[in-house]
């Protein structure tokens, strides 16, 4: 699809600087785009590439516009404006309505006439697939699952018994929603399985990444609220609640019964312990561990970056003797006579 730059500017509400009649037919990167392509600058790390770009136009903020060697669309939010342009230039083809002949739809399942069911998918009894929704090839939609209108379930997804998806939900391949939570009671003979009787409720506009797992609740439901975005290989334990518009990057694990607030931003490979509460608008850096409630919106970090082995081994050795080091400082202070000015700042164990 080719659009004139001036039309694009109008459609996305950006200010045009340059030739409105430039034809634009695709997006590209700052360094890779050529004539006909539009690109964007949002991450300052890539600013040095701006002067060299050969794109026809660049979406950027006002402060960067002066340095732009080609036509510019000026936006307060270049990334969002770019997203709208990319969606216009590269529309996703809707899946054709209908059930692939190799798919299996059980008696008692309801598939909307405008929905798509891919090859070798299985729709069990009592499942309901909404208007214009799509179930990808090889996916399993178990008994009583509801998929809301316009939702896109990718290939090889598993939606277990009774899981409910809202509208415009996107689920990527390999995700498993509604497997049993990890519930066992210790007993004389070992571990006794605790029946996992709740469901999973996924709100509208949620996106769930590839091979992510979301367990069903033990008694009540696990809930992912409206607009939350979950990356790949995330593990959500039973009874967890993720607040609306919270984003979570890949490989993060959230233990059972944790409650995450709205609009949080949680990095990749984070661990959140069970039964915790994280307030709205908290931001957690990648690879951090959260072992206590978070009550104040802030950026939280819990990661020590790697160092060359020779240095790290010295540091780790020092860390392991940190208690002794503190005691030595306490002895020096006592020997120096009093430490009056700092007596309240240390604990009793420095002796």
């Amino acid at each position: 699809m080719s659009v004139l730059l001036g039309e694009l500017a109008v459609q996305v509400g950006a200010e045009l600087r340059g030739d409105a009649r430039l034809p634009i037919d695709r997006v590209g990167t700052l360094s890779g785009a050529g004539a006909g392509a539009i690109t964007f600058l949002a991450n300052p790390q890539y600013r040095a590439q701006l002067a060299l770009t050969r794109a026809s136009a660049v979406v950027l903020d006002r402060a960067s516009a002066a340095e732009c060697p080609v036509a510019a669309l000026i936006s307060d939010n270049p990334h969002a404006t770019y997203a709208r342009i990319a969606t216009l230039l590269h529309p996703v083809a809707a899946m054709p309505p209908g059930v692939h002949p190799s798919a299996v739809v059980a008696a008692g399942a309801t598939v909307d006439a405008q929905a798509h069911v891919g090859a070798l998918a299985f729709i069990a009894a009592g499942a309901r697939i909404g208007a214009r929704a799509s179930v990808g090839p090889g996916s399993i939609v178990a008994e009583g699952v509801h998929i809301g209108a316009d939702s896109l379930v990718g290939a090889r997804v598993t939606l277990c018994r009774g899981v409910r998806l809202g509208e415009r939900v996107i689920v990527h391949p390999g995700a498993v929603i509604g497997a049993d939570g990890f519930g066992f009671a210790r007993d004389a003979a070992g571990w006794l399985k605790v029946p996992q009787l709740g469901g999973v409720l996924i709100g509208d506009d949620v996106e769930i990444g590839a091979n992510t797992t979301i367990d069903r609740g033990a008694i009540e439901d696990t809930v992912i609220e409206t607009g939350a975005k979950l990356d790949n290989q995330i593990q959500i334990g039973h009874n967890v609640r993720i607040g609306a518009h919270t984003v979570i990057a890949g490989c993060t694990g959230i233990s059972g019964s944790a409650r995450i607030g709205q609009r949080c931003m949680i990095g990749g490979a984070v661990s959140i312990a069970g039964h915790l509460q994280i307030c709205d608008d908290a931001v957690i850096a990648g690879h951090s561990a959260i072992t206590h409630d978070i009550r104040t919106p802030d950026l939280y970090i819990g990661v020590l970056s790697a160092e060359p082995a020779r240095l790290w081994r010295r540091l780790a050795g020092r860390f392991k003797r940190l208690d002794e080091l503190a005691r030595r400082v306490g002895r020096l202070e006592r020997a120096a006579g009093g430490r009056k000015e700092s007596a309240g700042e240390q604990d009793r164990s420095d002796e």
Copy 2:
């Protein structure tokens, strides 16, 4: 199913305090349960909810019974007693015997007449499915796999060539058991694949979570012993042995040839390095790294919890200069004249 509270008490061996004729038809949470529901109190964190519960009855220990505003079932192990009650009130419907018409069972596979094979599952030659076992829709059971009686393999599971499952094993959707271990030998031209020739042996009563992966042994078998419970997205490398009744929470990775003892409790997102031995009854906190053998049963922790960024950055900066800090303390000690009392407690590098 509705049961009188007095009958429930008898069936699970709990002491009844309250009206034996109360009808109970379901379980619920302390805060959410209403009339007809039974709940439990096992985690002291939820004790404050006890006084407000509107359940018909609560399973709890003797110490908490006095505060219970409704009927009580008193148990030394409320969680296990609750699990038994939930199993009684919410029995899982057995899968109907038989092979779904869309499933593919190769010539030379043996499916017990009382076993269930779901839609679009594939059972390869030489596979053997035991009595009352169930293979979920979309699952792949490769050549020579054995599935013991009463085992439940969920949807979209992959059991690779020759994997053997005991009885009453549960495997959740997306799990992959028996893929090649990660074995490569460095060579002039790059990395040479080392054939992965062993199998995977899963004992009775093991449970394996969604999207968990267990690699086949390089030469001998990878072994998960009786009653072990593995949560979602766990990675078990080749040649690992997990002892009986050990439980492992989600996202944990166990590197090749590690041997984990019996009755261990391993938290989520733990990393265990290769070729280690962990003794019986060890407990490892979530997000910890284990880089040495564990020889003594104890609770092991290796995680620093996240802090607000401003504080954490100062701490991380201090950590990176910890070697210098220790040297400064050493100089102060020498200047103060000797440190006779602590000379043996520090290392030579404090200078």
Copy 3:
């Protein structure tokens, strides 16, 4: 297959010490092998088992040969020599050419006459399966995917639209290649999806582990270069480039737009932040976090090993007061009169 030891020595170019006419028919472990089996010693940790082995022969280096109680094949690289022998003794049966009758091959897909397509696999329009390539049962090969000659795609793999695999690539079950990257732009109403328009390009001789996910690029391609080896449950974000012959152990996450050099060795459960550059030949220990570029080949470590809880809690408490400890040392130094010799080594905050 049985081979005489002398023939094996010739075929793999090893020096024989012992009886050339010993028949060898399989591999085994040092501790488990019996007559007829050949084993190897490469990890010094297992050296004590050498004296007790009952294998017919052992592959080892010259330094260890004197201690070998049985026949020996001497090699500078015992692990690689063992790999070649194991491949000879235990050849993998090629999959039979042809499409399983239950597989679905769309009109417009091209499957080489010598390729294999397993049961219940789906090959979409425009896909191309090369000579002697194999697609496992239950796998989904989407529109326009190319699979190079001699590649082995396991069971239940998902190759999304347009993904291209080179020759001799191995993909293990449950892997998802080409799902959307995690791209959202914050907007007044929440998060706006950024179209993910790039592809994934997998070079020759790459191996990809079970349930690993590799996202498609946002604009250009995500690239895994020749000979790279990825273990299970690895997450590769959009636009990442992994250099040739780099190996990555399980559960590691690499955030979007990171560029990893050639011949790197990255341990398990490592986190690499977005937009970073890692130079060629870097080695990263397991469970480490990388938050800055790595510019010098070296071993990098970033992990503190777990300790018994009582000790760890003291250390973690000391760590959280490290800023105060450093200030106390600064005060002692000033009180001691000057610290002339170390004034340049500490920062201004020690006051």
